[in-house]
């Protein structure tokens, strides 16, 4: 009896996660190959795979979009990297300070929460006027969007630290400076990590927004370009690749934090 339950559990563990994706791809295949939906609305999986192959691996110039992936991905990564770095540099210290110092929280809190009420997408027109089309606008949008989750979670993490842990630090002779990085930062790390991951996720969303507005390169630009010439297979390839690159960058962020901080490694 016990053994059977264990066995069932193992089977369900390995099989369950694959049922929905398989059904999804099966349905896609049936719908597109039987002509229920015309291929100019939903291309067949094989077409999409072929397009992805051309976009990623083919010789540049041999076909439309051929071999452009590396350059587009690099451009997008650089934009995300700069935007996200600005968000971290501003959001992390400000968030931790707001969480610990009531005066700072009162000083910045209402302003930041007011800004947060403005939908991120509405910054696009004014950003285009201020900064033009391209790198600067995209970085601005990414930084702005990623700032809020990083700031809010750092503040929550710093606020919710067990006060006895801070007392324990003070009692062992830890001053302001060592206390900040040896007690406060690790104590708030689970929240900080959540904020950074949410921020990076939203950074990719706003990257696409920034690149949808007439820049020549980048993963978002490719999708918009493909829409204009009706290459729906290329749109789908772009969507999937952004998902993959976003997921990989999240994994890299987590790995980086785990390597750099004991607290990120040990407090999951």
């Amino acid at each position: 009896m016990m053994k059977k339950t264990g066995g069932n559990k193992n089977v369900s563990h390995t099989i369950l996660p694959w049922i929905i994706p398989s059904a999804f791809f099966g349905a896609w295949f049936i719908v597109s190959s039987t002509g229920i939906l015309p291929t100019y609305l939903l291309p067949e999986p094989v077409t999409v795979i072929g397009t992805a192959n051309t976009y990623v691996f083919a010789e540049p110039g041999s076909a439309p979009y051929a071999g452009r992936f590396l350059q587009d991905a690099t451009t997008s990564l650089v934009r995300v990297f700069f935007g996200f770095s600005i968000a971290v540099a501003a959001g992390l210290p400000l968030g931790i300070l707001s969480g610990r110092v009531a005066a700072i929280n009162r000083l910045f809190g209402s302003f930041i929460n007011g800004l947060r009420a403005i939908p991120g997408i509405t910054w696009l027109p004014i950003a285009m006027i201020w900064l033009g089309i391209g790198m600067k606008t995209t970085v601005f949008l990414v930084a702005l969007a990623a700032f809020f989750p990083i700031y809010l979670n750092a503040a929550a993490g710093a606020r919710q630290i067990n006060p006895l842990i801070l007392r324990a630090g003070a009692m062992m002779g830890v001053g302001r400076i060592r206390g900040s990085y040896a007690v406060l930062l690790p104590g708030a790390m689970p929240h900080i990590m959540t904020g950074l991951r949410l921020g990076l996720g939203i950074a990719w969303a706003y990257l696409v927004l920034g690149e949808l507005t007439g820049v020549p390169d980048g993963l978002g630009a490719v999708i918009m370009d493909a829409r204009m010439i009706g290459r729906i297979d290329m749109i789908i390839v772009g969507m999937i690749l952004i998902a993959i690159v976003g997921k990989v960058s999240d994994a890299l962020l987590v790995t980086f934090l785990r390597i750099s901080f004991k607290s990120a490694r040990r407090m999951q």
Binding site: R167, A168, M171, M172, V174, P186, S263, R266
Partner: protein, 262 residues
């Protein structure tokens, strides 16, 4: 058997006193109403003495300990350590709390080394000290464990090692064994008494448990409630190890209960 009742006169200092509390009063404001939590607390502690502060829940024991630690500043009066008034927390007055305050991101070994890393002393010296105290509290085999993998009793052993390794002038303990089971508690009391003796450590130990106080203390300060004040000082001269069912202990217990409940 020697008994010395009553409190010491205000501000009176004896040459060997390591800590003096002088007319310490603490007032809190709760919902606009001022409440006197501590009223005119006076006592002294000698070097190497094991002092217990006994009183019922809510009498201000923890507030008093927080004042001694420097976490809070009294409304009036002062506490002097080796003649110098206390202004802030510091490693000369280490605290073992009732709750778990180990750093969850550090191993047992790193937790104990934490306080040493701020000061002078090289890596090898720190390593030696940490190992010595790991041995004292019987946790050498657990040096690389994280706090979440330890039992409550083991955590309190690490808390104890982490502060003793700093060689504090005074060790402050706030009901440190209150949440441990009976047997573990008993082991911890033994450990504390033997370590305290070996290191001639001055200890101030807050508890609501009269039997615990009688078992471990050299001297008991009995605290009344509303407002919290020390009503009596009791020296326990009974030989160790003590059993709470001994006649002498029964005598002390009787005396403390009368002081607490009159």
């Amino acid at each position: 058997m020697i008994l010395s009742g009553g409190k010491e006169a205000t501000g009176q200092t004896s040459p060997a006193a390591i800590l003096e509390a002088i007319t310490v009063t603490m007032q809190f404001e709760v919902n606009g109403v001022k409440k006197k939590v501590l009223d005119d607390i006076n006592f002294t502690v000698q070097q190497g003495e094991f002092t217990c502060i006994v009183g019922q829940s809510g009498c201000g024991k923890t507030t008093l300990l927080n004042i001694l630690a420097g976490f809070i500043i009294p409304t009036s009066g002062l506490v002097r350590v080796q003649g110098r008034p206390i202004r802030k927390p510091g490693p000369d007055r280490c605290v073992v709390f009732q709750d778990d305050t180990l750093f969850p991101w550090l191993t047992v070994h790193e937790n104990i080394a934490f306080g040493l890393k701020g000061g002078e002393g090289n890596k090898r010296q720190i390593e030696e000290d940490v190992n010595r105290f790991l041995f004292f509290v019987g946790l050498l085999d657990y040096r690389n464990y994280l706090p979440r993998d330890l039992s409550g009793g083991m955590k309190q052993r690490v808390e104890l090692a982490r502060v003793l390794v700093l060689k504090p002038l005074i060790l402050l303990m706030d009901e440190p064994f209150a949440s441990l089971d009976y047997r573990t508690r008993w082991e911890m009391q033994d450990l504390l008494i033997s370590l305290g003796h070996e290191l001639s450590q001055t200890i101030i130990f807050v508890t609501h448990d009269v039997d615990e106080a009688i078992t471990i203390a050299d001297k008991i300060e009995i605290m009344a409630i509303n407002p919290g004040t020390i009503t009596e000082e009791l020296h326990i001269t009974q030989e160790r190890p003590r059993k709470v069912n001994q006649t002498e202990c029964a005598f002390y217990r009787d005396r403390i209960y009368r002081a607490l409940w009159n």
